[in-house]
């Protein structure tokens, strides 16, 4: 599809416009559009059954689409052949491994399919399996098998890497290690399309987040600005100093403070002004504002709200959650 701005396609790794996919009468993907720039990491988040894996598998060339246009590395994955697969790396959400082969053997055999593979031992080391290199797959833990998945996905030194829920089932340190690996891949200029359930993963890895629910994109933006998160009202809270009431607070606050469980809550679009007033007031009185925090909705809160999975009153619930530590 020619771009209206006429710019070269060199900078775009994935271009999806009005992609549709139906299984019989069920429309799994209902006309989604997005782009992935070269060297960018894009996270696709959404609940199970939202259409993430269907979308990714269409981009990988595993499934035909029902409608819309897709260009991956400038090619149509539905008709692209070996050239295309030489340049992509795929970590599927679930796929098998030959249980009787060792880590190193599998990475070695897969490296042989590519024109310019990475070094086998280096790849095994990169995913943190150096100590397990001569262990057979059947003796690996679930997380170790997942890291082997990752090794097989990158051993061909691809330009574009698809990671479908790459860290599901990982312990925190293995996840941290995989994040570092993904970061290092991006530093090498690789483009990465990631799907994940974990908002902290999207926040840590992605330049941009696309939220999919019910087969449609419900929000798109940087992890910082998604769903207007950067513009949303902040909640300032602190413990009300003993012997004081709400009436003792400075009068010029930008909104009406509330008292809950001995804590003052102030919802405001101008937290800087409010904080200046409050801290000036407290310092003037020689009071320390205990348990002082400024909260914004977390990416997870925004996500739950966008996908309709959370409580409709998520921001209020958030405020209450943060303010009732009981100790």
């Amino acid at each position: 599809m020619p771009q209206e701005d006429g710019e070269d396609m060199g900078g775009i790794a994935v271009e999806v416009s009005d992609l549709r996919k139906s299984y019989g009468a069920v429309e799994a993907v209902k006309g989604i559009s997005f782009e992935l720039a070269e060297g960018e990491c894009l996270a696709m988040v959404g609940p199970n059954g939202a259409g993430k894996t269907t979308t990714v598998e269409i981009l990988e060339g595993f499934r035909p689409r029902s409608g819309g246009d897709v260009r991956v590395l400038g090619l149509d994955p539905e008709t692209a052949g070996r050239d295309f697969r030489e340049r992509i790396g795929i970590v599927l959400q679930s796929s098998g491994l030959d249980r009787n082969l060792t880590v190193r053997e599998l990475v070695y055999f897969y490296s042989g399919y590519y024109p310019h593979p990475r070094n086998v031992d280096e790849t095994v080391e990169l995913v943190g399996l150096a100590e397990k290199r001569d262990t057979r797959v059947k003796a690996l833990s679930g997380g170790q098998q997942r890291r082997l998945d990752l090794a097989l996905g990158i051993v061909g030194d691809p330009d574009l890497i698809f990671l479908d829920e790459p860290t599901t089932g990982f312990d925190p340190s293995a996840r941290r290690h995989s994040w570092e690996l993904v970061d290092s891949l991006r530093d090498l200029g690789k483009s990465i399309l990631l799907t994940t359930h974990y908002m902290d993963e999207a926040q840590n890895l992605a330049d941009r987040v696309v939220v999919i629910a019910g087969g449609s994109i419900v929000a798109e933006g940087s992890p910082e600005s998604l769903g207007g998160r950067d513009l949303a009202e902040a909640v300032i809270s602190f413990r009300l100093p003993p012997g004081l009431s709400l009436a003792d607070l400075p009068g010029a606050l930008p909104s009406q403070p509330q008292l809950r469980d001995g804590h003052v809550l102030l919802r405001t679009a101008t937290p800087t002004v409010a904080l200046n007033l409050l801290t000036g007031w407290a310092v003037g009185r020689g009071e320390e504002l205990e348990a002082l925090t400024v909260m914004r909705p977390s990416l997870e809160d925004v996500y739950l709200q966008l996908t309709g999975e959370g409580d409709a009153a998520a921001p209020a619930a958030l405020a209450a959650k943060e303010v009732t530590p009981n100790g």
Partner: protein, 288 residues
């Protein structure tokens, strides 16, 4: 060492663009891949080699010096060695391929391979090559055991026919094994389906005893399937009464017809994705 360092540096900077791997080395790698899997799975190696060898030792010992009058009074071992060779060759190809390909498909291994640049036909070629190798290896072991233990005689002028018959049979049963893998609903059913389709046929195919004096309908029934033609063509290459070069072209023709049918079914029905995953999302990864 310098090579390794250079390639590591190359991959890091993305400067070194290598060349697409050539077909023959890739085929060689796929052969080694399958060979490792074959020997590390005790069942495939056992059923292909040890199991037929046991049959050979058992049957030839039990039958001792008995002779088969319907085959011109030849010794039992002279009949049974080519028979068990056919048995082993079919295990190595039909049973092994049907089972391991269906399981690899349902485990998602084929799907993963489909996402690599290796052409699909090359994967299939690697499997056929290895199955053929296993069949030839098992055949050599059966014949060697027959010669050493039961004084089986080889007839040099029939050897070309023996080799050609083995290759016809092997490739045909590779095609049929791939066809069964393609139509088999799931990997767990594959071993049962393979054995259930082939073992009953083996008993009406002159493998364990000649069918020459069996009722006509049984001979006709056996003659529909390729096993009997494979067995009798192979037995002819071990018989002192065979005249000429020993090629039984009508048997080879039937084997070829089955090969063509198997190839058509395999090509039309072969799938790379797990069958179970098609309906919904039943497959979840272990530990997730």
């Amino acid at each position: 060492m310098a090579d390794t360092a250079a390639s590591a540096a190359g991959s890091a900077t993305g400067v070194a663009r290598g060349r697409r791997p050539a077909v023959l080395p890739l085929l060689g790698r796929q052969f080694r891949y399958q060979n490792l899997l074959f020997w590390r799975n005790p069942f495939s190696a056992f059923f292909t080699i040890a199991f037929p060898l046991m049959f050979l030792l058992l049957f030839c010992s039990l039958q001792g010096g008995s002779r088969l009058t319907e085959r011109g009074d030849i010794r039992f071992a002279q009949f049974f060695t080519p028979s068990i060779l056919v048995f082993a060759a079919i295990s190595a190809t039909y049973v092994n391929l049907a089972t391991s390909v269906a399981i690899a498909r349902d485990d998602g291994i084929l799907k993963r391979l489909r996402g690599t640049p290796m052409p699909g036909w090359l994967y299939v070629a690697g499997r056929v090559l290895h199955a053929t190798f296993a069949a030839v290896l098992a055949s050599v072991i059966m014949v060697a055991a027959g010669i050493l233990l039961f004084h089986v005689k080889l007839f040099p002028h029939l050897l070309p026919a023996a080799v050609v018959t083995l290759l016809f049979g092997t490739l045909s049963f590779c095609a049929l094994g791939l066809a069964l893998a393609a139509v088999c609903p799931n990997g767990e059913a594959a071993p049962a389906m393979a054995n259930f389709t082939w073992l009953p046929v083996a008993f009406i195919s002159s493998i364990f005893y000649p069918l020459d004096n069996a009722p006509q309908w049984l001979q006709t029934l056996g003659g529909i399937f390729p096993v009997k033609h494979f067995a009798e063509a192979m037995q002819a290459t071990f018989s002192p009464f065979t005249t000429g070069s020993g090629f039984r072209w009508h048997d080879l023709g039937v084997i070829l017809l089955w090969a063509a049918g198997g190839t058509i079914v395999a090509v039309r029905k072969f799938q790379w994705e797990p069958r179970a995953a098609n309906g919904g999302r039943r497959r979840r990864r272990r530990g997730a």
